[in-house]
Each structure stands twice: as structure tokens, then as C-alpha cells.
Amino acid sequence: MSEFVPKPARPAPITEIGAIGWARKNLFSSIPNTVITLLTAYVLWSVLVPFLGWAFVNADWVGSSRADCTSGGACWVFISVRFNLFMYGFYPEDSYWRPNLAFILLIGFLIWLSIPRIPFKKLGAILALTVYPVLAYVLLYGGFGLEVIPTHRWGGLMLTLVLALIGIVVAIPIGVVLALGRRSEMPVIRMVCVIFIEFWRGVPLITILFMASVMLPLFFVGGTDADKLMRALIGIVMFQSAYMAEVVRGGLQALSKGQFEGADALGLSYWQKMFLVVLPQAMKIMIPGIVNTLISLFKDTSLIVIIGLLDILGMVRQALADPAWLGYPAEGYLFVAFMFWIFCFSMSRYSIYLENKLNTGHKR
């Protein structure tokens, strides 16, 4: 019997590896594929080159008035001149440090809570949900020795962030209560919750905002001068809590029946079962859903323009109507689009990261 000698491995043929192999496989694997590649490349070229030329190569970046926009490309001067307005609205300039500080604190908390390696998550969450809102309110609105800045002066990106964050933070507890109510065995409570959830989910946000701005004042005796921002916020929270309730419901459904039974068999009461066993697990499953809801809420806040609040989109539209700067809608809208995109895209990446982590965690 001859001894087994393994054959030495040979390098793969050139068509399989390296740049050529890659291109053959991914771009020119067949005739239709080659046609698609060439066609796409042509379209890409004919769109991208003029756009890049306009937006970067031929653009004007510095200056103070439209007279500085001479090169024929994009006039980013329009943005840089009004940048502060777009960020803070009519918030007094000498108090910009207040929203800045609030924002930096927010980022700090977000880093603390979203990066798994940093410890004391629970403490962070408790601080972020109790101390931070009070602190942010005082910083933004005033009191305790700080000058009061009424909400009608708030605007720009700051207002967008305020609306989205308050909306989501208030909507989560309401959503949890609604979702639990929807699973309740008491028919009246279940009905009330179902009607509430389906009503707000069934109508467009814009009608809710109209309702908040024209109908809501009629609901209170003499309360017609309620803050406009407050009214919009009430509408957004109602809308959002209905969507949140569905996210929570999904989280509850993902738990196996055994968890409920295990808690029952140990003799835990309904609320002990919910708070000690069910919700802590459901919350983890729900986080990607909550982030996705936050993304859509963040995009939806732009609708408040229609009832006359000036978020970042509103501020830009107001600037576009300024006779001194007529004719730069492309720059204005692209800037807003870019700002929204940065926030939404990074949040969606984070949510995908969480989902992947959750999936691998389950398999183990």
C-alpha cells in the first residue's frame, strides 16, 4: 500500500481572484449584466459629475451677502450667513450656550447608554430620564436665575430635537400602559385601548396637528392661549404613543408563554410579573423598534411647519422668502435634507447594529 501524499495546493486561476476575478464575477458575469453595468455607470457619471461640480468645485463657501456668490455653482454663503438662525431659531444669541450645553449633556448620556462597554447603565438611564429633563428644561426655558426665553422664540434644529425627544420620552410610558391595556382581560379597558390606538394610527399626523391647533383650544375653558408648541407636542405625543403601543405589543408577543407561566407558578402578582419578568425582557427586544419609531418621529416633526412652527425646515423656508436671498432653494433644501439625513441615518445604523446583536444573542 502506497503512502498517502497530499497534493500541494495550487493558486486559483486568475479569473477567480484579484481585481479581474472580482470584476468578472460582480460586473461582467453575463451579457445583460455587462449592459446593466455600463448603463448604470453612464447614468451615474452624467448625474454625479455635474452635481459635484455644482455643489463643491464651483461653489462659493465664504462671504456675507449674495454678491459673494459669483462662480455659478452652489451658494453655500446663504447657509453660512444664516447658520445660527437655522440652528437656534430666534433664541437670543448671548444664550446660545444654554441649548449647546443641553445638547452636549444629551450626547454624553447617549454615549453612556448606547455603547455597551460603559458600565452603570441603570444609573445612566435613571439620570437621563429624571435629572436630565429637568435640567434641560431649565437650561432651555429658564428659571432658577436664568432668563426666561418663551417657546415662540425657539426654532431651528433645536426645536426639531426638542420635539422629537420629548415626544419619544413621553410616548414610551403611555405606549407601555396602552399595550398592557390592549392585552388586558377586562373588555372595557381593552376596548378603550384598542380604540385609542387605532384612532391615532388611522389618521395622518397633519390632521392631528390641525386638530391640536384649531380644536384643542376649544376643549378648555378660557385656556385658549395655551402655548402653541405645547399644543403641537400634545398632538405628537398622542400620535406617537399609539405607534409606541404597537412596538411594545410586538415586544410582549415575542416573549414565550413560558415566561408568563413561570412567573405565575411562582405566585407573582400581575404587576410584579410585568415589571420584574416581562417588561425587562420585552424592553430589550423593543429597543430597535423604539429607535425606528424615533427615526420616523424625527422626520415627522418637520410637519409642524404646516401649523406655523419654525423648526429647521421652517427657518430655511423663511430665509428663502427673504428678498435679499431669493433664488437659492436648492442650497436651502439640500442643507436641511443633509441635516435630517445625518441624524436619521446614524440612528438607523444603530438600530440595525442592535438588531444584529439581539439576533446573535438569541442563538447562542
Binding site: S256, G258, Q259, E261, G262, A263, D264, A265, L266, G267, L268, S269, Q272, L276, V277, P280, Q281, K284, R364
Partner: protein, 249 residues
């Protein structure tokens, strides 16, 4: 409330339906303090349903269930009382994956029995030692093998100091070599005089520890006897058939 010699569980003419389907038909059963009962039968015969009725995970519609002198109706106080007295081990363990092994064991003592945390942890460690996994106390259930998880589940139930333990097919989700480690714990528990009701297909276990074996089919108790007579001299044809299939290979 109950004398040590009396019945700790009594089922009298218990009937239960799932919608139209009649799952339990006139079940009568008395369990004495310290008795070990093994319940077997083909799947769908109602054996799990019966023991799940005893701690009200399922609701029966007719008849009486009396546990330790407390009658089980839908009075929440009685349900709470009975669940404190009755421990349960599930087929799929039902451990809480977000809590460590130790936290799983102390959850109910702390929240239901209002026990101080220190004391609850001491008791938990005692039982974890009894099921031979004290070193895993700070791990999460997901990090343990199936057999270890099931032993944690047993320890979790024992921490409530129950007078009765219910086992709902505790080994049927486990690999063969893990079955032994769980059964060993159960045999030891039986040796200490715990009252046990066990739904299982482990006939070796039944022969070794059971005081009585109950055979169920189609929602009825067909036969009950001491293990020796049950295995060597079954009374009904149905039992014979079942035993020949279970012991046949």
C-alpha cells in the same frame, strides 16, 4: 391546617374543557403528604393539563381542587396562597433569561414572601448547592446547559419552600446524558420526603421512587397502582399496550 397524615391535594370530579374539547373527565385523585406520584400516558391524554390545574395555570370548570385545605376557586387570595405552597418545574424550564441564576431563585422569595434579600440569597445558595451548581450562581441561564438549567428551575421552586412539587415532563427537552443529572436531583428530593407529582416517561424513575403510578388516556385516569403491580401486572388492555410501546425497546 392539614395533619401530616391527611391529603395534601384532593381532586374531586374535576372536569375541564378547551372550548368544545373535553380534556379532563371526572378526575378524582387524593395525594397524601409525602407521597410521590408518577403520571404517565400518551400525549394529549390530559396529564399535563391536570397538574397545571393544581396551581391554576389552567382553570377547571367543574369539580373541586383542594390543596392543603385551601379550595381552589377563582378567588385571587386562594390562588396566591396555593401558588406559594406548590412549586412547579416546566418542560422548557421557563427560567428568566434576563436574570442571573441567583436572581432567578431569589425573585419570588423577595417579592412574594417579602423576605430580606440577604436571607433569600442564603436560602437560594443552599438549594443551588443541593442541586450541585452553586458555582454557576452568577451566570445567566443562557450560559448553562439544559440539564443545569432544569436543576436551577428545581432550585428556584424549592426556594419558596413548597409543600408540593409539580413536575411537567421535566426531562423531555433534555439530551440523554443530562436527563440523569436532573433525575438524580429528583430522586434525592424524593428521598427527603417531598410530596411530588411528576408527569414523565422515565419509567426507571417511576419504578425507583413512585409510591403510585397513574395512567391517563383521553382525559381519564384509567389505572392507578403501586409501581410493582402497575408494571408487572397491568389491569387494562390500554395500559398494557402503552407499556409495551414504552418499554418495548
Amino acid at each position: 391546617m392539614t395533619q401530616e397524615t391527611g391529603n395534601i391535594i384532593t381532586l374531586k370530579n374535576v372536569n375541564k374543557w378547551y372550548g368544545e374539547f373535553h380534556v379532563l373527565k371526572d378526575i378524582n385523585l387524593d395525594v397524601k403528604m409525602g407521597e410521590k406520584i408518577v403520571i404517565c400516558g400518551p400525549s394529549g391524554s390530559g396529564k399535563s393539563t391536570m397538574i397545571r390545574c393544581i396551581n391554576h395555570l389552567e382553570e377547571h370548570q367543574e369539580g373541586d381542587i383542594i390543596v392543603d385545605g385551601v379550595i381552589l376557586n377563582n378567588d385571587l387570595k386562594n390562588i396566591g396562597q396555593i401558588r406559594k405552597e406548590v412549586g412547579m418545574v416546566f418542560q422548557h424550564f421557563n427560567l428568566f433569561p434576563h436574570l442571573t441564576v441567583l436572581q432567578n431563585c431569589t425573585l419570588a422569595p423577595i417579592w412574594v414572601k417579602k423576605m430580606p434579600q440577604k436571607e433569600a440569597e442564603k436560602i437560594a445558595m443552599k438549594f443551588l448547592e443541593r442541586v450541585k451548581i452553586p458555582d454557576q450562581a452568577n451566570k445567566f441561564p443562557g450560559q448553562l446547559s439544559g440539564g443545569q438549567q432544569q436543576r436551577v428551575a428545581i432550585a428556584r421552586s424549592l426556594c419558596m419552600n413548597p409543600r408540593v412539587m409539580l413536575f411537567d415532563e421535566p426531562t423531555s427537552a433534555l439530551d440523554p446524558e443530562m436527563i440523569k443529572e436532573v433525575l438524580d436531583v429528583m430522586v434525592e428530593l424524593a428521598g427527603e420526603g417531598m410530596t411530588m407529582l411528576c408527569v414523565t416517561h422515565e419509567m426507571g424513575f417511576a419504578k425507583k421512587v413512585a409510591d403510585r403510578v397513574i395512567f391517563m388516556d383521553a382525559g381519564q385516569i384509567i389505572e392507578e397502582n403501586d409501581p410493582e403491580s402497575f408494571f408487572n401486572n397491568p389491569q387494562s388492555e390500554r395500559t398494557k399496550l402503552f407499556l409495551s410501546q414504552v418499554l418495548g425497546h
